[in-house]
């Protein structure tokens, strides 16, 4: 029933977008599982939605405003307590810019 065919190249592209390292054997398994799921959800294309507005959110709220007041926030030490590599009251990460 499905003409959806997600290719291995697309799986690799999406994995890059999602910052998810997939092993060689996992790529094909993921491709085949996504193919099945995409085949299932394809039924939505047959639903007539002409002129129907999308729902992103069920509540009729747009913007919620509050006064712009300074409030105390959590101490730096508490926010760093779960960090894998805190350094000098900052989050340390591997090199971002090539030498």
């Amino acid at each position: 029933m499905s003409d959806v065919k997600i290719t291995l190249a697309e799986v690799e592209h999406v994995a890059r977008l999602a910052r998810l390292a997939l092993g060689a054997d996992e790529r094909e398994r993921m491709r085949s599982q996504l193919d099945t799921i995409l085949g299932y959800v394809e039924q939505l294309r047959r639903v007539d939605t002409a002129g129907v507005e999308p729902t992103a959110h069920v509540l009729p709220i747009v913007n919620v405003m509050r006064d712009d007041e300074v409030r105390p926030s959590y101490p730096v030490d508490a926010m760093l307590a779960n960090a894998p590599d805190p350094h000098d009251r900052q989050f340390r990460v591997p090199r971002i810019i090539e030498e």
Binding site: V14, G23, L34, L38, T49, L59
Partner: protein
């Protein structure tokens, strides 16, 4: 009464106030039962014994000093491990957060503790609440107390199993596509998904932000009303937590169904519905009619599009929400990668389990350039049609009654290799969160093999009171005598 763990929340409150038991003795009784059975059931990931004892002693001090008593004074609860608890490890059932200790409490926890409740521990769940069986936990499975070879449902399977097996007086779960109601049905307890916006999501670690709601899992309907009264209401820390007034839900429980019209949706009694479940639910509807409710057929024509809509909307939101697990601010950091991108990618591969990886991939795909309109935008338009189905039905009826899950609890391992079969278990619970409306599951009997069955009642937005009327009337008519589960501890049974 020698075994305090059998009591409901409201019975526990009374026993404490009458001085029949101290909070400390109550907590010790629960810790003993947890010690006896948790290795067999796998309901808790973390037992917070020392903080529970400290909280209990503080409650007993309040009793001794004669201070004004709070609504949940001394009530020990089980909290799903996706809700932040200050100083108590919170994992989301994920290896990526295996050692995460939140610096703050979720608003729901602040309110429970503020009303005197005690946190016994954090319960197992599908990783990041993604699943219907609790088998996707990164730590271990949870067994259904009614049949140890069965799943407890999911994703709030640990809280449901804990309440069913008297390892807590009550508990909290979260529901995105059925994750409170389906495990409640499968474990024979009451489970409520409130209206979207009824309960603050602050400190609920996000899965799908337009769907997630926190809800109670309890031994009876009145307990669910009691917990909702505490956790509901506006919160400046969550802009979607609505300012609607919170009515007296406990009063609604005993108000009866006289004058109510209940809708029976054709689309919820279809092929795939287990005959024993259908029989039990139709029986329950007859009980409600004898209690004075009128019933009529209604149609929710886009029901069968619900699962497909959900499996686009929820993974899309999840792929965005879970981008925060990058190995920098908290959680796991894998390997000794030399650059940021490969560090992030290998951290996420090492920390996320298969279902979470699958949903991140699916969500990223449906949001990516070239596919957004065909999948995501179309799913959002179908979501509008599902909302309209409910709006049309609620113009004619006060609430809708249906099965909660199409089958009783299935076997551990039965559906783990077939994502679609697993997803279809949520066919009756998915439409309510897509429409943002509240729904409750209340036990309505057993299969021939002794597995619980749940009746679902779906209501209008912010009309949880009517759900409590219907569920309360049914429960009172059926009789509230709870069967004590005889669970034989199996030494070393806790599965890896």
């Amino acid at each position: 009464m020698s075994d305090w763990t059998r009591l409901t929340i409201h019975e526990t409150v009374t026993a404490l106030r009458d001085g029949r038991v101290t909070a400390r003795a109550l907590v010790e009784a629960y810790l003993e039962r947890i010690g006896l059975l948790n290795d067999t059931l796998g309901a808790y990931l973390t037992v917070a014994a020392s903080t529970a004892r400290t909280q209990a002693d503080a409650v007993d001090d309040r009793f001794r000093r004669g201070e004004p008593l709070r609504p949940l004074e001394g009530v020990p609860l089980a909290i799903k491990d996706v809700l932040c608890t200050r100083g108590i490890r919170t994992t989301c059932g994920s290896r990526i957060l295996a050692d995460f200790v939140p610096p703050y409490d979720a608003t729901a926890l602040v309110r429970l503790i503020g009303d005197g409740a005690i946190v016994l521990g954090k319960t197992n769940c599908d990783e990041f609440a993604m699943g219907s069986s609790t088998e996707n936990s990164g730590f271990h499975v949870t067994r259904n107390p009614w049949g140890l070879d069965r799943v407890p449902g999911g994703s709030s399977g640990g809280s449901a199993a804990a309440v069913a097996a008297d390892l807590a007086a009550g508990g909290l779960g979260t529901d995105t596509g059925g994750s409170v109601r389906q495990p409640a049905a499968l474990c024979g307890v009451v489970g409520l998904k409130p209206t979207y916006g009824r309960v603050s999501r602050y400190g609920l670690i996000a899965f799908a932000s337009s769907l997630d709601q926190i809800g109670p899992l309890t031994k009876d309907v009145r307990d669910a009303a009691l917990l909702l009264e505490t956790i509901a209401g506006h919160d400046p820390l969550d802009s979607t937590a609505a300012g609607e007034p919170v009515p007296d839900y406990q009063a609604a429980v005993g108000r009866g169904v006289e004058g109510l019209t209940l809708g029976i949706p054709d689309e919820y009694f279809v092929a795939g519905l287990d005959p024993e479940v259908e029989h039990a639910v139709r029986d329950a509807i007859r009980v409600l009619e004898r209690c004075g409710a009128r019933t009529r057929r209604v149609s929710l024509p886009h029901t069968d599009a619900g699962v497909a809509t959900y499996y686009i909307v929820a993974p899309a939101e999840a792929s965005s929400n879970l981008a925060r697990y990058d190995g920098v601010k908290y959680g796991l950091r894998a390997g000794d990668a030399r650059d940021l991108v490969s560090m992030t990618a290998s951290t996420r591969a090492a920390g996320f389990g298969p279902e979470v990886r699958r949903r991140i991939m699916l969500g990223t795909y449906v949001l990516s350039a070239g596919y957004y309109d065909a999948y995501y935008a179309q799913a959002q338009r179908v979501r509008t049609l599902i909302r309209r189905d409910f709006a049309r039905a609620f113009a004619e009826v006060d609430a809708i009654v249906s099965p909660t899950a199409p089958t009783p609890a299935f076997k551990i391992g039965e559906k783990t290799d077939d994502p679609i079969a697993m997803y279809l278990n949520d066919v009756f619970t998915i439409p309510a969160p897509l429409a943002g409306v509240p729904a409750i599951s209340v036990p309505c009997g057993f299969s021939l093999t002794g597995l619980p069955i749940g009746l679902q009642v779906i209501g209008k937005p912010f009309d949880e009171a009517t759900l409590f009327r219907v569920a309360g009337a049914y429960e009172a008519a059926r009789g509230t005598a709870r069967r004590r589960l005889e669970i034989a501890p199996v030494p070393g049974a806790r599965p890896a």
